[in-house]
Amino acid sequence: MFGIELTELLLFGKQVGIALAGAAALWGFVFSRKDFHCSTEKPCVIYDWIAVQLLPLFVSGVGIGSLSYFGLLVTLPASAHEGISYVPTNPEVVRSFEILTPLFLLLLVATVIILFAPGKKSNTFAESITYFYVGTFLISFFISSFPGWREAFDSQQIFYIGHGFHSIFTLGSVIVLDYLFLLSKRAHILKEHIFAVFPTISAAVWFGLAFDFASALFIIGGFAPTTKMLFMQTVIGILIINGVLLSGPLVRKMLAAIKPDGDGLSKTWETIAGLAGVISITSWTTITFVDSFEHLSLSYLEYVGLYLAFIILAYAGHKVVEWYQHRKQAPEFVHN
């Protein structure tokens, strides 16, 4: 349907899942590391708590990525064929299985161990999760770096690597950012801790996109003026401008609002921040999705219409989660 093939859908699922798992592990590690610097103070408990709260997001990513990968293992070897494209060909994807299967098994074993680990509220768990996150981030990084294997580190392989792992810093990180924004709704003290990390996450997103642009230098001259390409260029323009407003003026406003002498975010700013976050996630997901399917048969207007429809749907979902977070009980150590 619309030129979508099962193999491409599974590759998309693998990419999104591992980007999410990798980003949750990366930022979980950053939050959990903070307690090493202030182990006896109250805020450290909050940073540990935030790090543990990223675990469901990590598990969702591992679940989506692993299911898609094992789906590929079952279906792809039978349908492998040569293709000419700047996305990995099926034989290249099949060759990457030798590298990826042990990594996926390692990722699953680590996830199962952490899920069944006893004493999730203890200090030992909070400390061990730091090592868990750094380990799983590295595994996710290698998995996303090898969407295909050309048996040599030529320019196209380097493009695959840059074009692969940037998703952890871009798509995955913007999902984590929005998730944290929603999580912060539970209490003012959570906003103080979470908003303080937003500039760092934003910088990681900007560097992630720079890696992708830099990796495209290895396939320079490989662009074709297709409708799909033009639509993707439009979305890149939108996500850059939206990203500047989100990571610049909006984050500065949020940081000013949570200062002791600040007077909170007004409804208008809350709405703008939520909308900017949704546009960011939708744009990154759209680019990853459209990039994953070589034979999409949509007109420019159809692409734009679907993109706008997804933004509206995602914003509705965002509002539902926001409502849920407002109702959710804040943890005992959090004072409002």
Binding site: G248, A257, D263, G264, L265
Partner: protein
């Protein structure tokens, strides 16, 4: 509650990125009228310049 007036003060790196984003739109129009990907390369170059400015900003902080 804070006042709702929205002012947008941008740093140098943010201005560079806004220009880069706008150049992607220019590229779409240019390619649609039969041009090449010239503005795509310029947009990416401006973006990378913005990242250099961001790095300087981060180092100074």
């Amino acid at each position: 509650m804070t006042e709702d007036n929205i002012t947008v003060d941008l740093t140098f790196f943010e201005k560079a990125l806004i220009i880069s984003g706008l150049l992607f739109f220019v590229n779409v129009i240019y390619v649609s009228f039969g041009g090449g990907f010239l503005f795509n390369y310029i947009a990416k170059a401006v973006y990378l310049l913005g990242i250099v400015l961001l790095s300087v900003e981060l180092i100074n902080d």
